[in-house]
């Protein structure tokens, strides 16, 4: 099971790099959706073979929410706002990729020095979580369009979710569901706001939203 776990983690980190390197919004959204599906599968693997109805429900809900519903909302926002599919980054794609790679390596290095429990110390669980959070930050800081920033936020949240899985054995399912619900609601709201911004300003370029800074 450990091998499958590491395979999934590896794919998730790979999708990170895809998200950083792509210049097209639909690809970014697909990457986030893919991450959502992969992360949704993780509880099943971590709990193997003690599956119960709760874990199954959580897996299904996470995959449905992160893998399909949220990307659907984002795609719809993108279509209704009728924005160009290019991303116009602050930080270019190659520098972003380099930053992302550095962040992943730093995450591995830093994890070595963290006081972890012995069962977490050997795996790539924690470094991957840190790498996701850092990638999310890079996207948030380096991208201009509101939707790509939402994707950065989602990747950041994926990292936090991955961290949360460390506590899978002790966290009540209710908390997990609540978190999932929160994210869906917030993306829902952001989708609506994106639409409104587009109508009001005729653009989703957050650089143009600076007049309210006082």
């Amino acid at each position: 099971m450990n091998d499958i776990f590491h395979l999934l983690i590896g794919l998730v980190v790979g999708l990170n790099l895809l998200a950083l390197g792509t210049g097209r919004l639909p690809v970014l959204i697909q990457a986030v959706a893919g991450q959502g599906v992969l992360l949704g599968l993780l509880p099943l693997i971590l709990k193997y073979p003690h599956w119960d109805w709760q874990i199954t429900l959580l897996t299904l809900a996470t995959i449905a929410g992160k893998g399909f519903f949220i990307p659907f909302l984002l795609n719809r926002a993108m279509r209704t706002a009728n924005i160009s599919r290019e991303m116009e980054p602050f930080i270019g794609y190659i520098p972003s990729l380099l930053l992302g790679a550095t962040a992943t390596i730093m995450a591995v290095v830093v994890t070595r020095h963290l006081p972890l429990l012995p069962e977490h110390a050997g795996s790539f669980h924690v470094p991957a979580a840190i790498a996701l959070i850092l990638t999310g930050f890079i996207l948030l800081i380096g991208r201009v369009k509101a939707i790509s920033q939402v994707c950065g936020y989602l990747i950041l949240e994926n990292g936090i979710y991955l961290f949360g899985l460390l506590l899978l054995h002790s966290t009540p399912m209710l908390v997990e569901f609540a978190i999932l619900l929160d994210i869906i609601v917030s993306v829902f709201v952001i989708g609506i706001i994106v639409n409104r911004i587009q109508r009001a300003f005729d653009s989703l370029d957050t650089r143009k939203l600076t007049t309210l800074h006082e």
Binding site: F90, F137, L140, I141, G142, R143, V144, Q149, T206, R207, L209, T210, T211, L212, H213, E214
Partner: protein
């Protein structure tokens, strides 16, 4: 015994609150209700002071699990009496000074905030609980701001108000730190003696700073001159006469309750000396009548602190007789200053109302048109200069007796006592010079402007207010033995100790004052009866000038010029001169004024540094959300780094 006080104070509170409602449309009802409220507060204070009881009241109502706990002991009553008397006079005075006919909008606000400010001050005096003390303190501080800025159309008034508010809030922040630290150490908001906790000694400095800003101790007085000068005169009287004393109340109250640091007494006395000498020096440099009076408040707060500080010094020696004398003098000066300073502000207000100017150089000769105001102002001036037979002399005499007795002892302390005594006498001399200047320039001589020529006497409301205060000044001056038991009650509340009998010297002082007053009255009457008809009016000797005009009189600046020159290194007067250089007459100018030096050379430069830093910081505030997230990220990294560093150590 003391149950009777509860309904009296309740009545007072209800009248004040209903009065503030009535203030909106029914000014007459407001006056009556406010007067009833103040008189019942006065009655409660008298009851506590003269029956040796103290009133305590705990309510079931509580805020954040802290029940309301009120207490009226001798010390609170002492201040409550002063508050009631000055506010009674102020309420009567305000009816004519700030009438609806002239200020249709701000007169309503004035009445409303007046009641709220009085309520706040009374709450501060009777709160026996840190939380409610702070609530009362803020109510009082904020309503004072609205009262100062009643005439808010004038930008000068607004600036004065903002300065007051900033200074007041700085003080409140310090007081929050003080009360919370106290509450943490004692485990509750209840206030009371904590002398058994020696680790609380440094808290005294916090209290001194917080209350000192309100009391106007030099150099914390920066808000005081402009606020007192620009507030309506009845508000100035209340601010100077009572609000500053609430600051003093805090200092006295907590110097009695807290364990005192070793140097506390000397620091207080030293601050008193600085305030007294520099306060009067700054006063001499002013040309604005009310600003001048405001600086005299700094001076008199200094005199109070001299007495109090020396009393605390004496406390370390077991509070011997000389310490009690100085302490009693300081306490009595609180009453006295409240009375005569309010009287002087009322007089200045009467002048301001009819001439529309506070600039002394455009006044002059008002004695002829406003005999009542001039006479009462002169009486107040005599009192504030500490001349017999008025109340100012009694309190300063008590402080002198304490200091001089102590300076005859053969201890290191005698040198300090002698120094303070010398500084006190310098202060009195300078105050005398200053009030000769004021009375001479404003009331004597010839009118310097059309307004001064056409001045009219104030009406009976304002006269009554002044007469009440003048009467109180004369009473304390002529019958000083009456207040001695009160002072001893207060002193024993402050620090439990033996109550000495009335000092024999005070009895003879009272007799001497009576004799002097009788002689004075007889002389004046005699002059009126016998000499009046023999006075001839003749032109003033004109020193050989061809055509003397009122402009050739001594001005406020030239009168005090020599003395302000002595202090010019501290006062830093600003002068502008345009001297004629040719042989024939040309236009010439000489302008001088004394700015608020501490504000201009200390606070404002520091403030400018902060403004520059703030401007630099705004370049980080540009609205780009990406950069904001970067800031967050950097801050997180720094925090993680810091935590890691701490762990590694």
């Amino acid at each position: 015994m003391y149950e009777i006080i509860t309904p009296i104070l309740l009545l007072s509170f209800l009248c004040a609150m209903i009065g503030s409602l009535a203030a909106i449309t029914l000014p007459r009802v407001w006056t009556i209700l406010t007067l009833i409220a103040l008189m019942s507060a006065f009655g409660a204070g008298c009851f506590v002071l003269f029956t040796h009881t103290s009133w305590q009241w705990e309510s079931s109502f509580s805020l954040s699990e802290t029940p309301v706990f009120l207490q009226l002991d001798a010390l609170s009553s002492f201040f409550l009496l002063l508050l009631a008397v000055v506010a009674i006079a102020g309420t009567i005075y305000a009816r004519s000074y700030w009438p609806d006919s002239r200020y249709p909008h701000s007169s309503v606000q004035g009445r409303l905030w007046w009641n709220l400010m009085l309520t706040g001050m009374v709450l501060v005096l009777i709160a026996s609980n840190g939380l409610y003390f702070l609530l009362g303190w803020e109510l009082f501080a904020v309503s004072a701001f609205f009262l100062i800025t009643l005439d808010s159309h004038n930008p000068q008034v607004r600036n004065a108000g903002w300065l007051y508010l900033a200074a007041s809030h700085a003080g409140t922040i310090v007081l929050f730190a003080f009360f919370t630290t106290l509450a943490v150490h004692t485990g509750s908001w209840e206030l009371g003696p904590v002398t058994h906790l020696p680790e609380l000694k440094p808290l005294f400095w916090l209290a001194l700073l917080g209350f000192g800003i309100k009391a106007g101790i030099f150099p914390l007085h920066i808000w005081l001159p402009s606020a007192h000068a620009n507030a309506p005169s009845h508000v100035s009287a209340l601010l100077s006469g009572v609000a500053l004393k609430i600051g003093m109340y805090g200092i006295i109250r907590f110097s009695g309750w807290l364990p005192l640091p070793t140097l506390a007494g000397w620091v207080l006395a030293g601050a008193g000396c600085t305030s007294a000498v520099l306060g009067v020096a700054f006063a001499l440099g002013q040309h604005d009548l009310k600003r001048l009076l405001a600086y005299h408040s700094v001076e008199n707060i200094g005199i109070i602190l001299m007495g109090l500080g020396f009393g605390i010094v004496a406390l370390e020696h077991g509070l011997p007789y000389w310490g009690i004398l100085a302490l009693a003098g300081g306490l009595l000066h609180i009453w006295n200053h409240g009375l005569f300073k309010a009287l002087l502000f009322f007089g200045a207000g009467a002048v301001l109302q009819t001439t529309k100017t506070r600039e002394m150089s455009t006044l002059g000769g008002l004695w002829r048109c406003m005999p009542w105001t001039a006479g009462l102002f002169a009486l107040g001036s005599l009192a504030i200069c500490g001349l017999p037979p008025l109340n100012g002399f009694v309190s300063e005499w008590l402080i002198y007796s304490g200091l001089l007795t102590a300076s005859t002892l053969v201890t290191p302390l005698s040198l300090g006592a002698a120094t303070i005594a010398v500084l006190l006498s310098i202060t009195s001399a300078l105050a005398l010079a200053c009030f000769i200047k004021v009375c001479g320039v404003v009331f004597l001589g010839a009118p310097r402007s059309r307004q001064a020529e056409n001045a009219k006497e104030c009406d009976w409301n304002m006269r009554t207010a002044m007469l009440v205060l003048a009467g109180a000044c004369v009473t304390i001056g002529l019958l000083p033995t009456l207040v001695w038991p009160v002072l001893m009650r207060v002193a024993s509340t402050w620090s439990p100790s033996a109550l000495p009998n009335i000092p024999p010297a005070l009895i003879s002082l009272g007799n001497a004052h009576l004799l002097l007053a009788v002689l004075g009255v007889v002389t004046v009457l005699g002059m009126l009866v016998f000499v009046r008809n023999k006075i001839h009016r003749a032109p003033t000797w004109d020193c050989g000038y061809v055509r003397p005009t009122p402009r050739m009189q001594y001005t406020a600046g030239s009168f005090a010029g020599i003395i302000t020159a002595w202090f010019s290194s501290i006062l830093r007067p600003v002068t502008y001169q345009l001297r004629p250089t040719t042989f024939f007459p040309v236009k010439a100018t000489d302008i001088s004024h004394t700015p608020e030096t501490v504000l201009k050379y200390l606070i404002q430069p520091v403030g400018r540094v902060f403004i520059v830093l703030g401007d630099l910081a705004t370049s980080f505030q540009h609205g780009r959300i990406q950069s904001y997230i970067l800031y967050l990220f950097m801050a997180l990294l720094v925090l993680v780094g810091a935590v890691t560093m701490v762990h590694l150590w």
